[in-house]
Symmetry: C2
Subunit: 490 residues, 2 copies
Amino acid sequence: MNRSILEAFEPIFYPKSVAVIGASTELAKFGNIILSALMEIGYGGKIYPVNPEGGEIKGFPVYQSLKEIPGEVDLAILTIPAPLVSGALEECLRQGVKGVEILTSGFKETGNREGRRMEEEISRIARRGIRILGPNCFGIYCPESGLTILPGQNFSRETGPVGFLSQSGGLCVDLGQIAKGLGIRFSKMVSYGNGCDVAACDLLEYFYADEKTRIIAGYVEGVEDGPRLLRILKENKGKKPVILWKAGLTATGSRAVMSHTGSMGGSEAVWNAALQQAGVIQVSSAEELVDTIYAFLYLADYVGPRVSVMGGGGAISVAASDSLERLGLSVPLFSQPILQKLKTSFPPVGNSLRNPVDLGNPMIPPSMLRKVMEAAGEDEGIDTLIVIQILFYILFQVRHRLRMDDRPLSQFSFQPELLKACEEVRAKYQKPIIMVLPDITTDACMIDLESEWRRERDVYQTAGFPVFKTLDRAARALGHCIAFQRAKLD
Amino acid sequence: MNRSILEAFEPIFYPKSVAVIGASTELAKFGNIILSALMEIGYGGKIYPVNPEGGEIKGFPVYQSLKEIPGEVDLAILTIPAPLVSGALEECLRQGVKGVEILTSGFKETGNREGRRMEEEISRIARRGIRILGPNCFGIYCPESGLTILPGQNFSRETGPVGFLSQSGGLCVDLGQIAKGLGIRFSKMVSYGNGCDVAACDLLEYFYADEKTRIIAGYVEGVEDGPRLLRILKENKGKKPVILWKAGLTATGSRAVMSHTGSMGGSEAVWNAALQQAGVIQVSSAEELVDTIYAFLYLADYVGPRVSVMGGGGAISVAASDSLERLGLSVPLFSQPILQKLKTSFPPVGNSLRNPVDLGNPMIPPSMLRKVMEAAGEDEGIDTLIVIQILFYILFQVRHRLRMDDRPLSQFSFQPELLKACEEVRAKYQKPIIMVLPDITTDACMIDLESEWRRERDVYQTAGFPVFKTLDRAARALGHCIAFQRAKLD
């Protein structure tokens, strides 16, 4: 384990005190928003606002300069204009500040000479003994210490196994929100912007060393030192999954990278080959990034590529077969004895039992679905179960047929019984089960189905079963988990 | 125009009377569900339940046989067991019934000899002068005449330009629900199951001839006569967009086709090449099918591949560039004069204006966004505008900052002003505008954002602006529209 990197980042991720340089009473200023965010999320250390005008902000006395602060400062958050940054950094050095987040933009990403010059200057200051995140970043979210990014005041305070590094602050803000309902929890999330000092390589080394991080994910546009990045990845291959969105690989994307974070994108073919060799799980959209983190979180190590898909309605069997096969997964037929046993429980027509199992009707009682789950559990040719339930039919249609349109949807749920079946089959056969609950209503007036959807998702998730909205998304995420396991064996 | 096919299908799609053969008082039986569905959707013709037991169902007198019905029968819906079907068809022939839907399964899709034999028998009966849909299908939805599929009792009664043909009944049921909130309306939707008589080729010819159908879409597993299908497509190439999901193209998918509708999938490479040559827009999931129909519905003919993307937050510029370029679209830089003019309205740092336009902050006032829209409208190098707004930030975060968490979200919407800007820019420059409203909250407790999302979507949609949840989905659908225009010119 890399002790030195853990020690170097300790005061930055777990600061006992934070100075906000550029703290402001103006609501729209970064120096106000970040202060509010730290207070709202409940950062427990000391907060020192700094502004030459002095006074008071949100009940804190404002220090006119860093040196007036009575105690030590572990982390300084800079929100002052770009031309003032290097001066403030010199003072941070003098006062023994351990680390700095520079939220200010207007550096290398402007593409102009003055911006580049200022950024080179702060890089030089960093080498004199202070770690710097940014500039042009949103900072650090660390639920354990109560640090948060701009604006991340409502992020979860629960800590978790995901370490996320990102050149885009906006993506961090989005991911923090998306993560909440999915039970994705972070050890740390770090927006490093232009990455003039701390960047992808250091953070990757940190996350490999950090015992609290079990899954590493990242969004990277340009890389400061490609060979070093690949060396770190290869040296640690298979230790922890690394899910990476390497953006800016197309010609237009690469051009956009320059004006976003001032770095260079790179050649798509070269990056794809190198990252694959290094065992990295590559994704190419926010949706795929989230789905993949989610799958690694909920699926255990014994997930395998031979899948049984079961459900009813909506061309399930054919579509499932196509999409799984395209992702390198297989849908093998059940073995003959298993199939024969299964056939005794179902009518001879109106279904297809060989795997994929299409029970014809989307309103399948859990007792019937359990029989298929048992078969898939027992069959030695099957590794992973995917259960598809279209809630609309079970909830709305059943309620409607019973002429009980005024009752809440949750009263018609098959969930308690199906959840029990999932838990028992998983315990008995030790095979992972993935839920797919497609979402087929779009009306503004049918919002109660979406409410019930989220409620059911939460229950399955809490029991350790991942829930996806489409089979394609489930299959893609599962495919990534399996690719990681295969890469470990290479 | 193919008059004869229109005439042949007239009494089937617009029947003056329908007999339900196998009508039942048992709630769970098809013969009960389809009768309820016809009544609930408000079919306006005569309904004749038929069952040898006689009596009364839902207020209708039940006829013991077809020949006892006092008037003519245009369409007969069969829900009786498979072995009784051929006898009933003979009686339909004798009584001059024009068309038949056979909902019953247990024919070719069983894979056994008896099933195949029974299906061949009904094919032979069809050739003696009666059109047959099915067996193993869900029938016809035609909002104009009030026919609906099983179970489609809550489908829209509004008619529209989309003709949909499908080998899967389940997909029809799903699509009818999904379509509702998206403003997708159908001329006809036809589930033809095993397709022993009427199948993809006939329906395609009908939809080309039908003046009420402007967009043709379909889900096809096996094709009864591949050369004929391709000939029809080529002869009509460019007349109407044909969006086709040809499933069962992988080895496993092809195997599943056999037990779903008893037909054969086919070779992926051969189909892909042939369909592309025929100008077909190929899709490969329900999501892509819906998104593409939606895009053809809302985007006018003058849509073009040179896109301007504008918004703020979430790595918008880089991700947008990558995903558009991968789909064959371009994101050209604004011309110098346009860019210079734009620069005068925005601060010199914290944004990227060259296109994609990333305004840095996701809370962009509509007045600022309008300036970018004007620039993209004016720039002759831009065909299509994509506007990204992350509603979460505008609604939740603005409300939170103003300390008004108890007010409804709609009070904080930028929509009235942004909609006005969209309408004015579209009118002035005659360029299509696509809205992307990403959805980044997942909490069960934040369901009010999803409600507000749907409300805003409905307003944009009503004004003719399509709304997508992700940029990737918007770009994929736009790419299909452009490919169709290009194919027309081939």
